[in-house]
């Protein structure tokens, strides 16, 4: 069986600055993967390249067998590859309810939008309380909820979350992990970028460490590594644990 997403030898960057260098990874149909590594080494850039916001200068990206490396973001979203960006501020002058409705914009997301809205509002009751509040007046954590909610509204087949727990309270982190875990179990694989190890380990089967714009290590947790060893590797990046 082919991978759901395969990234083969891509390079990408901003103007003259190259961030990703010949990076390769893949996501199977029934697994979730995690990306970690030091700040500023290209995790976000990788997700942006996959979702079409950045154009790769070399390499190929296939999603469900189709080459998406030259597609527009809108097409990619409509194929079910959804990216919830890091520290997203959303649409400052739009109210919560409006934003969530709009998020079901892609044709594939329209059917069942009502139902998914229910799900999102159950996951984040705060959003239900504040339907009319403008996005720019939300607290940091509330904004994060809205951003993830929007991604869920897109009816993803593969969900990419970039630091989803940024600024969330411990309790909410836990609830989010549960909810996202449920989504993954329902057959939507995840790509998660996270600094919070617990969160990452709770959700993913395989981890890639990204350093200097390339995969520096792959950790398959089914390979018999125990939790402690993974932690060791994870913190190996910077030195102390």
């Amino acid at each position: 069986m082919t991978a759901l997403l395969s990234v083969e030898g891509i390079s990408a960057g901003y103007g003259a600055i190259t961030v990703l260098r010949d990076l390769t990874l893949h996501v199977g149909r029934n697994e979730s993967i995690g990306l970690f590594g030091p700040n500023g080494h290209g995790k976000t850039t990788l997700l942006r390249t996959i979702s079409g916001l950045l154009r790769a200068s070399a390499g190929r990206i296939h999603f469900d067998g189709a080459d998406i490396s030259r597609q527009r973001p809108a097409t990619i979203v409509n194929a079910g590859l959804v990216h919830s960006p890091q520290a997203n501020t959303m649409f400052g002058d739009m109210a919560i309810a409006e934003t969530l409705e709009l998020a079901a914009f892609a044709p594939r997301a329209r059917a069942g939008a009502k139902q998914r809205m229910e799900q999102v509002l159950t996951l984040f009751p705060r959003l239900a309380e504040r339907r009319k509040q403008l996005a720019r007046t939300l607290s940091g954590g509330e904004r994060q909820m809205l951003s993830i909610g929007c991604a869920l509204m897109c009816d993803p087949r593969l969900l990419m979350l970039d630091e989803p727990t940024l600024g969330l309270s411990p309790r909410l982190k836990e609830e989010l992990a549960e909810a996202v875990g449920a989504i993954a179990r329902s057959g939507v694989p995840l790509i998660v970028v996270e600094q919070d190890v617990e969160f990452l380990l709770a959700l993913t089967q395989r981890l890639y460490m990204i350093e200097h714009g390339a995969v520096s290590r792959e950790i398959d947790r089914n390979d018999g590594l125990d939790h402690g060893q993974v932690m060791q590797l994870y913190f190996g990046q910077g030195g102390e644990a």
Binding site: S51, G52, L53, R72, P73, A74, V77, N78, V82, H83, S84, P85, N88, T89, M90, F91, G92, D93, M94, E98, E101, L102, A103, A104, F105, A106, A109, L134, S147, C150, A151, M153, C154
Partner: protein, 287 residues
């Protein structure tokens, strides 16, 4: 009494015109965050195109108006593509697009003078004859504008606030990346927003072409008015723009009655400064 009615009517007429002039500007501003200085010039293009089809080719006024709307929309899309799109997301985007739209204004105005010459032109009216409203006389054409303006505004409001397609235009203006990531085709949305605004400008221009004169610079006064209306109302929404248009129209008419034409602009500007000092987000703006 009679003069009060006359003033009311002429205030509402002014308000309707201002609403039409400002709505397109407001659409571009609230969606794309671009202050389009070529908006008045697009009205002028609409008027000239309407004139060419209606008078030049003798095809009649309605086809002329359609041609005006279409031509302006086309110009708008071209302007967006060449002069606005390359600058989205750049550091000084607001200022740079001020400049590029000013450049568009110059190109359209001078181009129009090259094509149509400097002599004044005028379109016939939609309907001839005058109508008396409670003793105040205006032309039927103007009466139609009074009726048309709210309809156009309502449709526009429904579109931008109630439909997802309309919301998507606002979304791209506020956060392009986030918009793209929920599946909005950003370049397409930009083109739609600008084309729609330009079409509105074209319609306004074609309607103005019957009650004012068509010249290459006919758009400059409406542009200033539209700018005042849009900012004065508060930049948040179309509703605010519409409200401000009628407030300013009525205010202007009554100021003319009370203090005369000469001091009216003076008083209007002074009043606006005062309002903005006390309501820094515009008359109907949200804090």
């Amino acid at each position: 009494m009679n003069s009060i009615v006359a003033t009311l009517v002429s205030g509402i007429l002014l308000g309707s015109l201002y609403a039409l002039m400002a709505s397109g500007l407001s659409v571009v501003w609230t969606t794309l965050g671009v202050f389009n200085f070529a908006h008045g010039a697009l009205m002028m293009i609409g008027a000239y195109a309407a004139w060419t089809v209606s008078e030049g080719m003798g095809l009649g006024l309605l086809p002329g108006i359609l041609a005006g709307v279409a031509t302006a929309a086309l110009c708008g899309i071209v302007i967006e593509y060449l002069l606005i799109r390359p600058f989205y997301g750049t550091r000084h985007m607001l200022l740079v697009t001020v400049m590029t739209t000013l450049a568009a204004l110059i190109i359209l105005e001078k181009g129009a003078q090259l094509i149509w010459g400097a002599k004044l032109k005028q379109l016939p009216r939609l309907v001839t004859g005058d109508v008396s409203i409670f003793g105040a006389t205006i032309s039927w054409h103007e009466a139609i504008i009074i009726l048309l303006a709210p309809i156009v505004l309502l449709l526009l409001w429904r579109f931008t606030a109630m439909t997802n397609r309309g919301r998507s235009l606002r979304a791209v203006g506020q956060n392009q990346d986030a918009a793209a990531l929920i599946g909005i085709d950003v370049p397409y949305a930009f083109a739609i927003a600008f084309g729609l605004a330009a079409a509105l400008a074209g319609l306004t221009g074609a309607l103005l072409g019957s009650i004012r004169f068509i010249t290459p610079v006919m758009g400059s006064e409406p542009l200033v008015k539209a700018m005042i209306v849009v900012i004065f109302g508060g930049l948040g929404s179309l509703g605010a723009t519409a409200g401000a248009a009628y407030v300013i129209g009525l205010l202007e008419a009554f100021l003319i009655l009370w203090i005369g034409l000469y001091w009216t602009p003076f008083a209007l500007f002074l009043l606006m400064i005062a309002v903005l000092i006390f309501r820094p987000n515009g008359l109907f703006g949200r804090a």
